[in-house]
Amino acid sequence: MICSALEMKNIGKKFGVVQALSSVNFSVKKGEIHALCGENGAGKSTLMKIVSGLYPSGSFEGELFVDGVLQSFKGTRDSENAGISIIYQELALVKEMTVCENIFLGHEYTKNIFIDWEKSYCQAKKILEEVNLKINPTDKVSQLGIGEQQLVEIAKAIAKNANILILDEPTAALTEKEADNLLEIIKELRNKGKTCIYISHRLKEVFKISDRVTILRDGKTVVTNKTIEINEDKLIAKMVGRELTQIYPRIEKKLGSPIFVVKNWTVENPNTGQKVVNNVNFVLHQGEILGIAGLMGAGRTELVMSLFGAWGKVTNGEIYLNGKKLQIVSEKDAIQEGIALVSEDRKRYGLILGMDIKENTTLSSIEKISNFGIVNENKEISASYKYVNELRIKAKSIEEKTGNLSGGNQQKVVLSKWLMTHPKVLILDEPTRGIDVGAKFEIYKIMNELVEKGVCVLMISSELQEVLGVSDRILIMHEGSIAGEILYKNASQEKIMQYATGYLKGENLIL
């Protein structure tokens, strides 16, 4: 029997108390394209980080074999030496260096102590031909398109003599044509005997190029199948297949009148010109929680950030609030109109960690508690106490620095800040990411309380259960557009995934 190119046995990995992977078995045959599928957070990236040596041996359980030999990587260098090369979603190229320099970075050809440029250029040219890239090795990487950069990454892997290539969402930022070209090249590489592990949310691509597919769910292997023996329906069912647990406090609501209307909303990334949000239309009703589901990179965060004015003037389209057309070109405009955005990654975008609870709470509405530019301390303290009590924030004092709080309490401080602006529309981007179940439940309760007071809530979530459990209606985004819209009663995880992966398109709208 031929031994596998890569074999992982009983892999387990813990982060603190969270079990990210448990008894994962993963086996890749030589010379195949093996797809790895799973929801956001299923453990794909963690597994690949183990393969790449980023998590050194000893920090996880289980065994890892390359070509039948037991390996214990101490770092990424060991993994590279074993012939494994990983190409991340975020490209790891030095933009200000030439293609040639990038290809051989860290493995330069040398003559004595000097770089052997002649040999480098010759080799670079050969490798670039191999990946079908018609550029000069002396071109700067910053001048290349994203698709070309992606190919340079592959060239880099070939230069390292990698036998196993791991591609993590390589087509996420590419146009369809670029993506097709990339897939062709991956196929060619396979035909030359290289082994590829392919991670993608685009199921179509998985079916197009992979020989076998392994599905991960909740940090466990579900199954490994030949790709021709499975169809998209089955694949999606296996990716999500679990029951909805009852931690979602649902209250029955009557749908009110439309409050917040977005028409023909399009946003181009000013740097790449790519349409990150493409002609989005939706209506948010009084007293409604509208969920936005979708896979990473579907343009959900870009949509809400641009609605909030964080993208400035690069937006196209119309926003109406209570029938009035809004002109929003800055965050301040949005706040004044009654829109609030609890952004994802509270530590990076939400809080000033060096400031205390009180100062963070009042940050967006400090004018309300000031006279002639001077902050009224008494008003500030009472305002802060009000929200600490209402949202049940647990802290020693309102003078506690927010950097010292737990994730759940930090998120509540961010919520306080936005509630103090008295929003009519509250946008939440991944509001419960990284916080424990108890705090999650409290945040859902707060959302329901707000909705009862007449606030409209727009919630982005990558957790399908959460979207299903909390929202009254669900929009599903796929590649910058709205692919589907479902009432929660008609929704299921499978259906959402079908829209999110582009398997079902907007014309099948179920309403």
Binding site: E331, K332, R348, G354, E377, S397
Partner: protein, 444 residues
């Protein structure tokens, strides 16, 4: 809420056991370690110089000089702290201060402008330079480091250009007052000795003999200065009472809101210590010539900008921008406007420093203000301001400026070579930052 109240009530209890008492002292010490370390550092530096100079360092005359010397860097350090807190840097303040000082001198000497319009024009010029720098940083997104480095070089040239490379002076008497004058005394007035025929008495060198008369008796006493400056003493009483009243008011407010406060005994000790320091600061000058106008100006600017940074929306926004720019922007703060404003303030403060400097030297020189930016940055950093933004106090900056001036002054008194003065100042800066980082790590 209950939880919040309880913990503070415990700390309110003034009948503390001895061990608890020390625990609280230790706790509050740790909490304010930055402020204490720099005060301690200043104290140690003074102690060392007093010992090394045979107490010459601590004489009222020298201390008064020291405060006067620190005034220019003190003003710059106030602005620099705000710039650093906002997450920027200003390398141009020395050149700008020198340039504005030279411009003021030209207005005075070449065009015979009176003091007040000269000063107003200089301040406006400073604000304008701030607009220029702020525009490039805020609206054209060029890092402040580069914008102000460019200005630093350019204004150094501009000084040479407007002065033709010459020293320009002297200034008018009223202008000089800003840098050389002292708060007048009410009881005593300085006069020249007049003999019975009404003629001014001259000494052997031909200068008039100086002395003073008292409000209550017409007797003339020969001597350069009155025994004490009553207005300065009065000012010290006002400041101390205001300080004590504010502390008590703040304490009561904190108790009302259930915040933790120091136990009564400790609060008392703290108030007494601070009052003594304030009194000492004023009395030293009261028994020399009175408080210099320049020092008074720094004192007032310090109070104003302490309030600006702590109690205004503007101040809050500065800390938020420096603490987390992305979050500040998403909270609706107009980053561009705030950045522009802080640079305008810095430009204006650089003008103030330039005016004080020119008035003190009674002339504008081509090298005026050279390296002041480095002293101002060092002062701010020694005073606990973070180069990463978001952290820093005006009080700290002024203490930092005093540390820098004390090093200069003390080493000059000891006749230490300039070579070593620079080396020592550099080393102290490095040491201060290392202590800062080391203590912060421990606290975390």
């Amino acid at each position: 809420m209950n939880l919040l109240k309880q913990s503070s009530v415990e700390n309110l209890n003034s009948d503390l056991k001895k061990s608890e008492f020390w625990e609280i002292i230790l706790f509050s010490f740790k909490k304010n370690i930055r402020q204490y370390t720099m005060l301690i550092a200043l104290f140690v530096i003074w102690l060392v110089f007093t010992f090394l100079t045979g107490s010459l360092f601590l004489s009222p005359r020298n201390l008064s000089n020291l405060f006067l010397q620190s005034s220019t860097v003190g003003v710059l350090a106030i602005g620099m702290t705000m710039i650093l807190v906002a997450g920027h840097l200003d390398l141009s303040v020395g050149s700008v201060a020198g340039f504005i000082g030279a411009a003021a001198a030209i207005l005075q000497v070449n065009y015979n402008w009176p003091a007040v319009p000269t000063i107003l024009t200089a301040l406006a010029l400073g604000a304008l330079i701030g607009v220029w720098q702020g525009y490039w940083v805020a609206y054209r997104k060029i890092p402040a480091f580069i914008v102000t480095l460019a200005s630093m070089i350019a204004f150094r040239g501009a000084i040479l250009g407007i002065t033709d490379g010459r020293t320009i002076g002297p200034m008018s008497d009223s202008f000089k007052l800003i840098g050389q004058g002292y708060l007048p005394s009410i009881i005593f007035s300085q006069v020249t000795q007049i003999d019975s025929s009404g003629k001014i008495v001259l000494d052997e060198l031909g200068n008039p003999v100086l002395g003073f008369t008292s409000l209550f008796s017409n007797s003339f006493t020969i001597g350069e200065q009155p025994p004490f400056n009553d207005l300065t003493i009065l000012l010290s009483f006002i400041c101390i009472s205001a300080f004590i009243m504010m502390r008590i008011k703040k304490r009561n407010a904190r108790i009302k809101y259930g915040f933790t406060v120091l136990p009564k005994s400790l609060e008392f000790v703290s108030i007494v210590l601070f009052s003594i320091s304030i009194a000492a600061f004023f009395l030293v000058m009261a028994f020399y010539m009175g408080i210099p106008y320049a020092v008074l100006l720094v004192f007032i600017l310090g109070i104003i900008f302490h309030i600006v940074t702590n109690n205004t929306i503007f101040g809050r926004h500065l800390y938020a921008m420096g603490g987390n720019l992305e979050a500040a922007k998403l909270s609706g703060i107009n980053i561009k406007k705030r950045t522009l404003s802080v640079f305008i303030l810095m430009g204006t403060l650089a003008a103030v420093a330039g005016i004080i400097l020119t008035a003190r030297l009674n002339a504008a020189t081509t090298s005026a203000g050279q390296n002041f930016e480095l002293d101002a940055i060092s002062a701010a950093i020694i005073g606990g301001t973070s180069t990463m933004g978001g952290v820093g106090t005006i009080f700290g900056a002024i203490i930092g400026a005093l540390v820098m001036a004390s090093l200069d002054n003390g080493m000059s008194l000891m006749n230490i070579e300039v070579t070593w003065q620079y080396i020592v100042k550099g080393s102290i800066l490095l040491l201060a930052v290392w202590v800062d980082i080391a203590t912060r790590k421990k606290n975390e």
